[in-house]
Subunit: 419 residues, 2 copies
C-alpha cells in the first residue's frame, strides 16, 4: 500500500482497478442516458418506401413542362394517397395524384408538387411550378439501410438514439449496468436528519450528499446507515455492502484511536492500494478492493469532513463510477479562469479551491467562495467550479489564469437561445 | 393567431404563456435536481460546538511556549474526548486532552495539536510545535448560524444542497412540480415499436424521442398512444391529455385534408397563439393554450417529420418545460465554432443545422452531419450541436464563425481531470 501519493497517482490507481460493468437488458423507455452494450443493426429500410415529404400532388415531371405562376398546367386528380396507404395505384401519364405527407409515392410519379404551388378545383388540379427531379420525395433507405449498423456499442443513449431504436423496432436494448454504491458513515456523534441533535450531535450529512452525487451521475446508492464506533458494528455494515459494486465509507480513515476501519477492511479481505493523497481538502483518502479478482467491490474510505468527503468523491469516485457504467467521458468541463484575488499556500499538497464563476466578456472570473475550511459545506453549495492549485505551487497571483473544473452545469447554460 | 412568425417571436410567445408550476413536498432523497419552492432557514448552529478538525491533543497554547521539533513540551494527558462526547471536562492549565476529529473542544483549550506533531508515551504527550491561536479548531457556527437563511427559493438542488438540507434536519422539502407532458402522435401509417411494419408502416418514433426529451430535462411524459386519422379518435386522445400541464402532439399540423387537428383543438377550447414559424426544419409548428385562464394546458403541435419534431421541441418546448419546473437557466451552452464547409440557403427561414463538433486547439470546428433532410433521424443522432443560420442570411462561408447550441453534454467534458 502506498501513502502520501499525488492526486494524479491516486486517480490512475483508481481507474486501473475499475472495471466496466456487464450488461443488462432494459425496456427502451428506461434506457435514456445509459450506454449501449451492443451494436445495433437495422432489420429494415427507413423510410421503407419512397414517400412524400409534403402535402401536395404526385406528378410526372414531363407533364408539368412549361408550368408557371401565370401559366398553370391542369391535370386530372386520378386518385388520392393517404399516409399509411398500402395498396397504391400506378400514376399514368397525364395524371396527378393527391398525396399527403408520409404517404407512399405512386409508381410512375417522379416528383411531388406541394399544395401551396397548386390550385385544386373539383377533380382537377392546376400546377403552377415545374418540380425538380425527385422534389419533395423522401427516398426509401434515405435514413437507414437494412443491415446497416446504426449504433455502436459504447454509445450513450440520448433522445435521438431512443427515437432511432424505436423506429428500428427495438423496444428492448442491452446497456451497461449502473454501479450500485453501498454508502455508510461512521461516528457516535452522528444521527439521521430526523434525529435528536442535542448535546452537539450532528446529522450524518455525508451519506446524503454522497447518495446525491451517485444519483446525479446515474449510479444507484444503497445507504447502509450510521455505523457506531465499534469494530463489530462497522464490520457488519461493511459486510452488508459486499454485494455492491462499490463501497463508500465516510469517516474512520484518519489516524485516531477509534478508527477501526483499517482492521475491519483487512477482516473483510480488502487489499488497500493507497491511503493518503497529497491534496486539500481530502488528505485521508483510502482506496482498495475486496478480494483478489475483479469481482470484489471497490472500497473508498473518504474523509469525514463534509467538504473533504464531497471533494474526494468528485475527483476519484465519480470518474470510477462513470467508467463502470460504460461512459468514456469521465471528467468535468474545464474552463480557464482569471483569478480575482491572490491565493497562497504551502507547497506539497494540491489544493482544490471552491470558486464562484462569472463571465466578464469572453473571459471567466473565478472567486474563492470564502472560508475554505473542510468543515464548511456552505463553500460547496456556493461553488460553481473547483480551481486547481498545483501541489508544488505557492502562489496564484490575482489576475493570473488557472484551470477550473465546472461543477455547476447551469454556469455553462447560455443567457439566450442564440436567435 | 399569427402565422409565419420568426423563431424568436415564437419563443417569446411561448415563454410569455408559460407559468411556473406550484410546489409539491418531497422526501429529501427525491429532491435532487429539483428547484426549491421555499427559502430554507436554519433551526440550528453548525457546527453546534467548537470541535476539533484533526485527531490530536487539545491544549492551552500558553503551555506549549518554546516547543519545537527537538525541544518538546511534555504534558500529562488528563482525559480523552471522543467524537460524539456530550459531557466534556474542562482542561486545566498544564494539561493536554486526547481529542478526535469532530469531538468538542474542552473548555479551557485554545488550540489542537495534530497527532503528527506529538509523541505519546503512556499518559504523557510530547508536543513538538507551538500551535497558532485556535489552530485546528472548527468554531461553532462557522458553517451556519441559527436563523440564517441558507438556501433561497429558486435554488436548484445539487448534491451539496441535499447534504446541507440533511444537516439542517430537513428530510422534507418543498420544490416546484415537474411538468406532466401528454404526448400523442397521429397517423394511420404509424405503429408501436413492436408492431408490424409490413406495407410501408413505420414506428411512431416521435413519441419515443419526445418522451426521452422530456425525461432528460426532468419532465414527466404521459404517452397517449397513436391517434388514428379520424377526428373522433384525435379528440378523445387530446381530451385524455387535458389534465396534463402540456400537450405535445406530433403530426397533424400541416395543410393536408386529413389534418383535423385544428378543428379538434377548437373543440377542446384551445386558442392558438401561432401556427407556422419561419424555420427549417420545423415550419409547421403550432402553439396555443386550452382555456382562457392560466390553468389550461399549453398545446404544442409539432411537425411530423422526426427531425422537425425533435428540433421544435428542443427550441420551444424545452425552455417552456424548464421554466415550468422553476428553472432559470433555459438555454443550451453556446460555443462559437468555425465552419468547415460553406453553407448556403435561400433567405427567409432560419436554419437549425445539425453539426458535429471537434476541438482544434482553442477553436471549435463545426461540420454538417450530412443529409439535413427533416426525415433523416440519423442526422440528429450524430449531432453534437445545432448551428444557427440566420433567417436573412444566404451563405456562411467555410472558415467563418457561427453560434452553435451544444446539445451533446459529452462534448463539453474535458479529456483529462486537469491535474
Amino acid at each position: 500500500m502506498r501513502s502520501g501519493i499525488s492526486a494524479s497517482e491516486a486517480l490512475a490507481a483508481v481507474l486501473e482497478a475499475t472495471p466496466v460493468l456487464g450488461s443488462e437488458t432494459l425496456a427502451l423507455s428506461d434506457a435514456l442516458g445509459r450506454v449501449l452494450a451492443e451494436a445495433v443493426a437495422s432489420d429494415r429500410t427507413l423510410p421503407p418506401l419512397d414517400n412524400s415529404a409534403m402535402d401536395g400532388f404526385a406528378v410526372r415531371r414531363a407533364d408539368c413542362a412549361g408550368a408557371g405562376p401565370e401559366a398553370p398546367v391542369v391535370l386530372p386528380v386520378a386518385f388520392e394517397v393517404p399516409a399509411g396507404a398500402s395498396d397504391v395505384s400506378d400514376l399514368a401519364p397525364g395524371q396527378a395524384a393527391r398525396i399527403l405527407t408520409g404517404a407512399p409515392v405512386p409508381s410512375g410519379a417522379d416528383a411531388v408538387v406541394r399544395q401551396e404551388d397548386t390550385k385544386r378545383t373539383g377533380d382537377r388540379v392546376a400546377i403552377h411550378v415545374v418540380p425538380d427531379p425527385g422534389e419533395h420525395i423522401r427516398r426509401a433507405g434515405e435514413d437507414v439501410q437494412r443491415g446497416e449498423t446504426v449504433l455502436t456499442a459504447g454509445t450513450r443513449l440520448g433522445p435521438a438514439h431512443i427515437g432511432m431504436l424505436s423506429s428500428l423496432g427495438r423496444s428492448i436494448v442491452a446497456v451497461h449496468q449502473r454501479p450500485r454504491v453501498a454508502i455508510l458513515s461512521g461516528g457516535d456523534e452522528l444521527v439521521e436528519p430526523d434525529g435528536d441533535v442535542a448535546g452537539g450531535r450532528i446529522v450524518s450529512s455525508n451519506s446524503w450528499s454522497i447518495a446525491a452525487q451517485c444519483r446525479e451521475l446515474g449510479a444507484v446508492p444503497v445507504y447502509l446507515g450510521i455505523a457506531r464506533d465499534t469494530p463489530s458494528d462497522l464490520e457488519a455494515r461493511f459486510r452488508a455492502g459486499l454485494a455492491a459494486d462499490v463501497i463508500v465509507s465516510s469517516a474512520g480513515v484518519s489516524v485516531g484511536d477509534r478508527d477501526y476501519v483499517r482492521d475491519v477492511l483487512e477482516k473483510i479481505g480488502c487489499r488497500l492500494h493507497f491511503w493518503g493523497v497529497k491534496m486539500k481538502p481530502g488528505y485521508p483518502l483510502a482506496f482498495g478492493r475486496v478480494g483478489d479478482d475483479e469481482r470484489g467491490p471497490l472500497v473508498f474510505g473518504l474523509p469525514g469532513n463534509p467538504v473533504s468527503a464531497m471533494m474526494t468523491f468528485e475527483q476519484f469516485v465519480r470518474p470510477a463510477l462513470l467508467r463502470m457504467g460504460g461512459r468514456r467521458d469521465l471528467y468535468r468541463p474545464i474552463v480557464r479562469a482569471r483569478l480575482d484575488e491572490t491565493l497562497r499556500k504551502k507547497p506539497g499538497r494540491m489544493h482544490f479551491v471552491r470558486v464562484t464563476l462569472e463571465r466578464d466578456g469572453s473571459t471567466v472570473v473565478a472567486r474563492s467562495t470564502g472560508n475554505q475550511s473542510s468543515g464548511v459545506l456552505k463553500s460547496m453549495i456556493r461553488a460553481q467550479g473547483i480551481l486547481l492549485f498545483a501541489a508544488d505551487a505557492e502562489e496564484l497571483p490575482a489576475g493570473s489564469v488557472a484551470d477550473v473544473q465546472v461543477i455547476d452545469p447551469d454556469f455553462l447554460a447560455a443567457d439566450a437561445p442564440g436567435f
